[in-house]
């Protein structure tokens, strides 16, 4: 059913209202601030908490990760694949650490679950690729954030 709207007598002659509307758009065109961000030159500033490309924190070139398998368990997209191994000093470490970037939904659960402060989500959001990309361990070990 159509709701009958109450309009003033003069509003019924659309003309005045239309002219007002035209003035509003013209004012916007002449004086308003542009909302466009011209991408390659200007970039949007995201918050520090932004969840972007992953990295694994390392101390003195050794990754913090102990291959505890908490992040692959919690990951809702099931996109983390870890093969665990043993170091000479009997410490567990990931031989393989892969994240399928197309399946990842950047929820940040892995970051929250990690007991060793190892996996982190950086601020980088330009991740376009030409093929299906799986982040390997070497790639993940690049320190691209300071969380």
């Amino acid at each position: 059913m159509l709701a009958q709207r109450k309009t003033g007598f003069f509003n019924k002659f659309y003309l005045v209202e239309i002219i007002k509307g035209l003035m509003i758009t013209m004012r916007n065109m002449l004086f308003a601030k542009r909302a466009t961000i011209q991408f390659p030159e200007e970039r949007r500033d995201y918050s520090e908490k932004f969840r972007g490309q992953h990295y694994i924190k390392s101390v003195n070139g050794v990754e913090n990760c102990t291959a505890c398998m908490l992040c692959p368990t919690v990951c809702p997209a099931e996109c983390i694949h870890i093969v665990a191994g043993e170091r000479e000093d009997k410490e567990k470490y990931p031989i393989k650490f892969e994240i399928d970037s197309l399946r990842c939904c950047f929820c940040g659960m892995c970051e929250e679950a990690c007991p060793k402060d190892a996996i982190k989500l950086s601020n980088i959001y330009e991740m376009s690729q030409q093929n299906r990309t799986v982040y390997e361990k070497e790639f993940l070990l690049e320190q691209r954030g300071n969380k």
Binding site: G21, L22, T25, N28, M29, K33, A35
Partner: protein
């Protein structure tokens, strides 16, 4: 003759890329955006890319269409749109392709042929949205053509002619002058109501927002040109922009003195009139042409400006508005004008 046709044709065809640019950037600016500004200065060459894209795209017709009418329809839309300009004088009364006695009536009759193309396109596409779009467009065109025709009857009564050249010459006279400033006898001062009616119904005739129901993308996807691609679609677009130009040209010819000088131009013409007849003629023709182009351009901008300001009508509102508001107003306008002429005021 061929020179004039050449000028008009080149002008009308180059309107499309220019208007593509103006519409893109204009819409963006009106909406607080920037619009495409990368290719060429201020994105000026973007429309060249568009044209190239249209040319190199595969010209494909879907399997379920009626091939003959499907390919005929864009032509039927474009040709009348281009033909309408023939009776409009564009730079002095010598510059008119065909000085027909029926003048403005020719404009209306040819312009209304365009709707057949739209109906053909909708029917041949064999698609319910296209058909709905073309149905709407035929209903809309017929309703608003009445107002369009009636709104200038007042002018015809005043100028006693349907020849556009005569009308423009008559508009060169002075209506009255206040303190040394001559107010010319332009149609808008004689027929303000007629002007508004003509403006509104020419929006409807050219299928522009707020009257773009035939292609209302929210409910009909794209309306009658839904199945078209590549150059065939480009022809529809061309037709829309050309009919916009013709509408603007008619608006400026009938109500803003056509090729008559804009205020200030007669002074420039005076500077160059040094006795040499050829130079004087050339300069005045050029200035007349420039005045006319400026008038058309302002109306074109107005079309764009309105498009990005107003929302679309609902179909019943459109019909109500056409038949219950505009048509009685147009009739009343004719009656009042007749009365004023009888009383000797106009």
């Amino acid at each position: 003759m061929f020179l004039k046709i050449g000028i008009v044709l080149v002008g009308l065809l180059s309107v499309t890329p220019i208007m593509l640019f103006v519409e893109r950037r204009g819409s963006a600016l009106l909406q607080n955006r920037l619009g495409p500004n990368r290719f060429g200065p201020q994105g000026l060459l973007q429309s060249v890319l568009d044209v190239l894209k249209f040319i190199f795209k595969e010209d494909r017709a879907p399997g379920h269409v009626n091939k003959f009418y499907f390919s005929l329809a864009p032509l039927v839309v474009v040709v009348p749109a281009l033909m309408t300009f023939a009776v409009i004088p564009f730079a002095g009364n010598d510059f008119i392709i065909a000085n027909l006695d029926v003048g403005i009536l020719y404009c209306f009759s040819i312009a209304s042929l365009g709707v057949y193309g739209i109906i053909m396109a909708g029917w041949a596409s064999n698609n319910k949205y296209s058909l709905l779009g073309s149905l709407r467009s035929s209903a809309q065109m017929i309703s608003y053509e009445l107002t369009l025709g009636l709104s200038i009857v007042g002018l015809i009564m005043i100028f006693q002619s349907v020849k556009l050249g005569d009308m423009v010459s008559a508009q060169g006279e002075t209506l009255f002058s206040i303190g040394g400033i001559d107010v010319p006898k332009w149609g808008i001062f004689l027929q303000p109501v007629g002007f508004i009616l003509f403006l509104v119904s020419s929006f409807a005739e050219t299928n522009r927002l707020p009257f773009d129901l035939p292609e209302g993308e929210a409910e009909l996807i794209a309306g009658y040109h839904l199945e078209y691609g590549s150059m065939r679609f480009a022809l529809f677009m061309l037709a829309e922009f050309v009919s916009m130009t013709v509408a603007s040209a008619l608006l400026s010819t009938l109500f803003f003195g056509g090729w008559q000088y804009l205020p200030g131009f007669s002074w420039i013409a005076h500077l160059f009139s040094d006795g040499n007849i050829a130079v004087t003629y050339l300069v005045s023709t050029l200035l007349h042409g420039i005045s006319f182009v400026i008038k058309i351009a302002s109306f074109m901008w107005f079309f764009v400006w309105v498009r990005w300001t107003l929302p679309r009508f609902r179909f019943d509102q459109l019909m109500n508005f056409g038949w219950k508001v505009l048509l009685p107003l147009a009739l009343l306008n004719v009656f009042v004008t007749g009365l004023l002429i009888y009383l000797g005021v106009l």
